[in-house]
Amino acid sequence: MESSTSYGNLLTTRDLKKHYLVGSVRNDVLRGIYLQINRGEFVGLKGPSGSGKSTLLYQLGLLDTPDEGEIIFDGVKTSLMDHHQRQVTRLTKMGFIFQNYALLPELSTLENVMLPGLSCGKDRSHVESRARQIIELVGLIGKMHDTPDHLSGGEQQRVSIARSIINQPTILFADEPCANLDTVSSKKVMDVLKHLNEHFGLTILMVSHDLSNFSYASRIIEVVDGLVVNRMK
């Protein structure tokens, strides 16, 4: 099932649908999403608030399951994966960055970053040295042993980026990574993402409201009312 190519199509969706029920009111959030993302791309995802961007990202990141349609990731239909395969895929092939960072408040920077590495059963010293490298890369070498409540929002988001790439994923999903950050912090976060994309060929799908962040993107997809409206280069 492993895709043999290091270029070309990485993620495809066909007619992806998802609805929520609030009481008896049906809200069709995703109404038939078709999209394709190639390896090495940095794709921006934009759209009005409530258009379903986060919902889409959750389906693609295997955090939720769509009602209908298909997601093909790295040559595998995700609808055929069981719980365990989805968990392993999230752990080893996908990184996810949340607007609210989603760090474990009980762990230090180093421990937060190491956790997914250790969870794969990798050798501890190997994981630790890689974690230190990544933490240095995101510019937090001095905050190695601080817990999240001692870090600023921008720093926490960079910890969460570091955590998301410890297992060298094929794709990184970022849901408004800079929404809570000031311009200086935003720029630092965006620089890190750009660096990962350019130097390590990491595929990135990023949701943002701030169009200036899209200057890093190679392509922008727009979602309106649960449908992809246009694609532009």
């Binding site: 989603a102 997914p116 250790l118 059963g121």
Partner: protein, 399 residues
């Protein structure tokens, strides 16, 4: 797998460190109370049972007693019975009795009653009468006309069954006893004892020295009951019985703990089971709720672990470790409180129950049982909410 345990353990440690100290403290406190609740009542009931048996041993029959075969009125050659019993290792006291029905006539009232003729010195090696005299003295060896009697038989203020008493005889009073062979005899009341064991407090003991003038014989060949005290650490009642029988000493042998207080033991057993079931239910309910809330309050923690793809085995293990740590601390604390606070307290201030003083002794095996039960329950009650959290979906947990 070892790494999984290591990750789980360190996650558990970090969670506990990070959790509010007071939260951890209160959880442990609740668990301590639940464990003690589970142990305290049932062990008090055990002790009531134990204490009742002790009372009967100390005030009526010793650890065991024997009576002649059904067809016989008295022992044939009682001295050899007594001698043989005394020679069995572990037997520390043997006292022959001649128990006879009399009518006791006092100034106020007369009453049909049993009298035990005893040798005061031998009797002291078996029962504890001499230590429970509340008025007057114990029987002296050469005090031929002396009797001692229980407070209920004596009657007077504070007795529970005045109708069965002699209406209030005191030390120094005279009573006359009428025997079946038409003899009558005058006795002097030397002492009144009070044991809290109602049956024993109806007893009358007379000195065997007076038997000769009534029956023309004494305890050396007129015996219909022999009470025996043993050192339970050296021998058992059954072993003494077996040794006696093997030497050809027939008779009706009774083990006090088995043949007395049967109704009470059964009643207590039923009460104990009911209390145990109720406190098990209460404990399980409370423990379950405590652990459930503890896990549920950390929704986000579990959502994040799931979102970043941490294997379920690690998540489950870390939760189990956390629960185990809490139950472990609680168990240790509970055992310390039981052994260093409650047991010494009850030893110093035993419960003053109507028939005995009851203190607290806790059976280590029942402690082990309840702690084991708590561990099991803690694991179940932290894994169930985890399971229902997982059914919620990741998104709903990390929102």
């Amino acid at each position: 797998m070892l790494t999984a345990h290591r990750i789980s353990a360190s996650l558990a440690v970090r969670s506990l460190q990070h959790a509010n100290r007071r939260t951890n403290f209160f959880i442990v406190l609740i668990l301590v109370l639940l464990i003690i609740n589970l142990l305290l009542l049932s062990s008090i009931i055990d002790n009531i049972d134990q204490a009742t048996g002790d009372q009967i041993i100390d005030h009526q029959y010793g650890h065991m007693f024997l009576e002649p075969e059904e067809s016989e009125e008295i022992f044939e050659n009682p001295q050899s019975y007594v001698r043989t019993l005394r020679n069995i290792p572990g037997v520390i006291g043997v006292s022959p009795h001649f128990v006879v029905q009399t009518i006791v006539v006092a100034d106020q009232k007369s009453s049909a009653t049993e009298v035990h003729f005893i040798d005061p010195v031998y009797e002291e090696t078996v029962t504890q009468k001499s230590r429970f005299i509340i008025d007057g003295n114990y029987l002296g060896t050469h005090d031929e006309t002396g009797i001692i009697l229980g407070s209920e038989k004596a009657g007077g203020p504070g007795t529970q069954f005045p109708r069965l008493s002699l209406g209030g005889v005191n030390v120094g009073d005279e009573v006359v006893m009428l025997f079946g062979n038409d003899k009558s005899q005058r006795f002097d009341v030397r002492g009144v004892f009070f044991t809290k064991l109602i049956d024993a407090d109806f007893y009358i003991y007379a000195n065997e020295a007076q038997m000769a003038s009534i029956y023309g014989r004494d305890l050396s060949d007129l015996v219909n009951q022999i009470v025996v005290r043993i050192d339970p650490s050296l021998t058992s009642e059954q072993s003494v019985i077996d040794q006696m029988r093997s030497k050809g000493y027939d008779g009706n042998y009774f083990i006090t703990r088995e043949s007395q207080g049967f109704v009470l033991t059964e009643t207590l057993f039923v009460i104990k089971i009911i209390i145990l079931i109720v406190s098990l239910l209460v404990s399980s309910g409370s423990l379950f709720i405590t652990m459930y809330i503890n896990v549920f309050s950390r929704k986000k923690f579990y959502g994040v672990l799931q979102a970043i793809g941490v294997p379920y085995s690690i998540v489950i293990l870390s939760t189990v470790y956390q629960s185990l740590f809490l139950v472990c601390s609680a168990s240790i604390l509970a055992v310390i409180i039981l052994y260093f606070v409650l047991v010494p307290y009850f030893a110093a201030y035993p419960l003053d129950l109507p028939f005995a003083f009851v203190s607290l002794s806790i059976d280590p095996s029942s402690i082990a049982m309840s702690i084991f039960f708590f561990f099991l329950l803690a694991i179940i009650s932290s894994l169930l909410p985890l399971w229902s959290l997982y059914k919620n979906g990741i998104i709903n947990l990390i929102r």
